[in-house]
């Protein structure tokens, strides 16, 4: 700023020669007047005509004939001198007043051409003083602007830092003291990572932007571990310093409040791994809380992918048996011959291959909880044995006759309408009543669409973090399409769709082009209206199994369905397990 202030200069009309001529030769052109004590002009002499007083009259008031005399009256008794008087442009005189013993006055005019030089010097000095005055005012304004900016920066809750090309701090705003617990004066010259307490991936990410390994321009969300033990969540914006090449500007926004509020919101919207804040999900969460303290058998109903197993685990985790076993039995995945042995156990030699005594899954879950998933697919004869377990709370291993007491909580889950199965003769009515002491209906995703944005954001954050992708948001068009999609595979399908999209997205915004084709194509009809093509389904399952080398869990993941659903569909499609 100071560079812009012009230095004052002096325009000297008088040359050195003028000085010399004045001093050595002199051009004084003196004139004099004798004025009596009453102010009357008595005599005059010298070069009066030069000053414009060619016709003077004696015994007449001097003040009426000579311009300046009026201003001198009364003359008093002391001699005086008036330097540099002028009444005509460019002509200066020194006026000397000398009283005589008789009380008369001699007024002597002494012309000098030094006047121009003196005036120029004085002009330069005054110009310099004015310039200094302006400069000081400007500096005061700059200082005030700086102070105002500093106050504003501090009010904005932003830490501003300037780094030199070596990553050393050359400026840090006062706000740092409140957030980083570091005084700006104490950090100057230190490297940024000694002051900004970030570690691990966060540090690498920030370093990459500061050193220019990756293009700056996108805010980085970081957690800083402050020396007081407090964690602060910040967003850091790294920019080039436009004033100096190689320098970096860091704008550090304290997002702790936002983060904490968001966490509270997510905590409220998430219950034991289930996400939702719709009224129907709130109802499910409340049912889980209500049933957790009871020992009643619970039937969990819902379409595939709605999270039946999560509900069962939530009931177990919220119960007093949370530290005891929780065993999930996929009834659809067990063949008729195996299911009894798996559930109830067997005695050595009970059947071919029974090489030793084996406890069943009921016994293994003793003290805890067992979930009979896809209970609608349990064979009839097993249903009878299940009825005994539910009524007597005892199991009889195959090949034994003595029942064994068990203390377990039984939960069952199904995607089928068991009333319909009862009517069709596939399910025992008395077993239905036994397992349906309490029931929880999990709504399909299409009936709680208001939860879709929250689910998308949760999965987006989860997969972006896991994959290191910078995806942070979904654009409105992609969100609209996902909101309109039927989601026949429910939350599981949505989760897989988001994961697929994140993998294909290189930027920070997930767009329509990143979504899987089946979502962006013609909207899927409601599940109930979809024709079931057995051959197509069979081919899809076989292809998934081939890709996953026969691993059913992985194949289920690829297909976006649970293992239980995979087994059930394999059975429906006549694919040998």
């Amino acid at each position: 700023m100071t560079d812009r202030i012009e230095q004052p200069f002096a325009d000297l009309p008088a040359s050195v020669c003028d000085y010399l001529r004045t001093v050595c030769v002199g051009e004084r052109h003196p004139a004099y007047f004798l004025v009596d004590r009453n102010g009357l002009l008595i005599r005059w002499g010298g070069d009066c005509a030069r000053y414009g007083w060619a016709e003077l009259k004696s015994d007449q008031p001097a003040s009426e004939q000579v311009d300046f005399v009026e201003g001198l009256l009364p003359l008093g008794t002391e001699p005086f001198i008036l330097p540099m008087a002028s009444w005509e442009e460019g002509r200066y005189v020194d006026i000397h007043g000398v009283p005589s013993a008789e009380g008369d006055w001699f007024l002597v005019l002494d012309c000098t051409s030094m006047a121009k030089a003196k005036q120029s010097i004085q002009q330069a000095m005054n110009d310099m003083a004015l310039m200094r005055n302006k400069r000081e005012a400007l500096l005061r304004q700059v200082q005030k602007d700086h102070d105002d900016l500093q106050v504003m920066l501090n009010q904005l809750r932003v830490i501003t830092a300037v780094l030199d090309s070596d990553g050393r701090i050359v400026f840090l705003s006062d706000r740092a003291e409140a957030i980083l617990m570091e005084s700006p004066e104490n950090v100057l010259g230190r490297r940024w990572h000694e002051v900004f307490p970030v570690t691990g991936d966060d540090r690498e990410c920030l370093e990459a932007q500061i050193t220019g390994q990756v293009n700056a321009g996108e805010k980085i969300c970081l957690r800083m571990h402050i020396s007081t033990g407090r964690d602060v969540w910040v967003e850091i914006d790294v920019r080039d310093d436009p004033r100096k090449e190689g320098h970096r500007l860091l704008y550090c926004y304290d997002m702790s409040d936002v983060y904490n509020l968001r966490s509270m919101l997510e905590e409220k919207a998430e219950f034991c791994g289930m996400i939702g804040k719709s009224a129907s999900m709130e109802k499910v969460f409340q049912m889980i809380r209500n049933l957790a303290g009871l020992d009643a058998t619970v039937l969990i109903e819902g379409e595939t992918g709605t999270g039946k197993e999560l509900v069962a685990r939530a009931i177990h985790d919220a119960s007093s048996s949370a530290d005891k076993p929780f065993i999930v039995v996929n009834c659809a995945g067990l063949s008729d011959s195996l299911i009894n042995s798996e559930l109830f156990g067997h005695r050595k030699g009970a059947f071919t291959g029974a090489m030793q005594d084996q406890e069943g899954l009921f016994e293994a879950a003793n003290g805890g909880t067992i979930l009979l998933d896809e209970i609608g697919d349990v064979p009839m004869n097993t249903q009878t044995r299940l009825l005994r377990v539910l009524e007597q709370r005892e199991v009889v291993r195959i090949g034994e006759t003595q029942p064994r007491k068990i203390d377990i909580r039984i939960l069952a889950a199904t995607h089928k309408d068991l009333r319909q199965e009862v009517r069709a003769g596939n399910f025992r009515e008395d077993l239905l009543y036994r397992i349906r002491v309490a029931r929880i209906m999990i709504p399909p995703l299409r009936e709680r669409r208001e939860d879709i944005p929250l689910l998308i954001q949760t999965f987006l954050h989860r997969f972006a973090t896991a994959s290191g992708r910078p995806v942070v948001e979904v654009d409105s068009e992609a969100m609209r399409v996902m909101m309109n999609y039927a989601w026949p595979g429910n939350v599981r399908e949505l989760r897989n769709a988001v994961e697929f999209s994140v993998i294909g997205c290189a930027g920070s915004v997930l767009k329509l082009e990143h979504l899987a084709p089946e979502i962006t194509e013609v909207p899927a009809p409601p599940v109930s209206e979809r024709p079931y093509d057995v051959n197509a389904e069979k081919q899809r399952i076989l292809e998934a199994l081939r890709v996953c080398n026969g691993n059913r869990s992985k194949a289920a993941d690829v297909l976006g369905i649970s293992r239980a659903t995979l087994y059930r569909r394999m059975k429906a499609c006549f694919i040998a397990s």
């Binding site: 311009d67 008093g76 005086f80 000095m125």
Partner: protein
């Protein structure tokens, strides 16, 4: 005409006597004497205006310049607060040399009022001390004639 340097004394005289104003700042060395005849309350008055050089760090107004003065205009620059202190000092000097004489304080440069550093409170303080303060602009002419007229009226009164 008394005041700190560059407050606009010569410009005020030039505006009043010649109805002219120049943006170029030219310092006054010594004293420049101007005459102006004016009519006030039916009387004709000859004003012999002594425009003295400005008071600054190097030059102080010589007492000899003050002799014979019937009254004076004390000029301040609204954009430079330090001219207020100079004006007060000059007032004390005149009082010491000539005794109390009629005077009017001209607060000059109203054309750049946005840059003023002399506040209303400062002006109020001067008025409390018995000063007659008038705002002027040698550039626009505002208040200039009135300033001289008020002084003339005081001289006659």
């Amino acid at each position: 005409m008394l005041g700190a340097f560059s407050v606009g004394k010569t410009s005020l005289v030039s505006r009043y006597v010649h109805s002219m104003f120049s943006e170029r700042y030219q310092t006054t060395v010594g004293v420049r004497i101007e005459k102006q005849q004016m009519s006030i309350n039916g009387s004709t008055l000859d004003l012999l205006i002594w425009d003295l050089h400005g008071e600054d760090d190097v030059h102080t107004v010589r007492d000899s310049y003050l002799r014979g003065a019937s009254g004076y205009l004390l000029v301040l620059d609204g954009t430079r607060r330090e001219t207020l202190a100079v004006a007060r000092a000059l007032k004390q000097r005149v009082d010491a040399v000539l005794g109390e004489k009629p005077f009017v304080a001209l607060l000059n440069k109203t054309d750049v009022r946005a840059d003023w550093t002399i506040s209303d409170a400062d002006v109020e303080s001067l008025r409390t001390d018995g000063w007659h303060v008038l705002e002027t602009s040698a550039k626009s002419g505002d208040g200039v004639e009135k300033g001289f007229e008020i002084l003339a009226a005081q001289l006659l009164g």
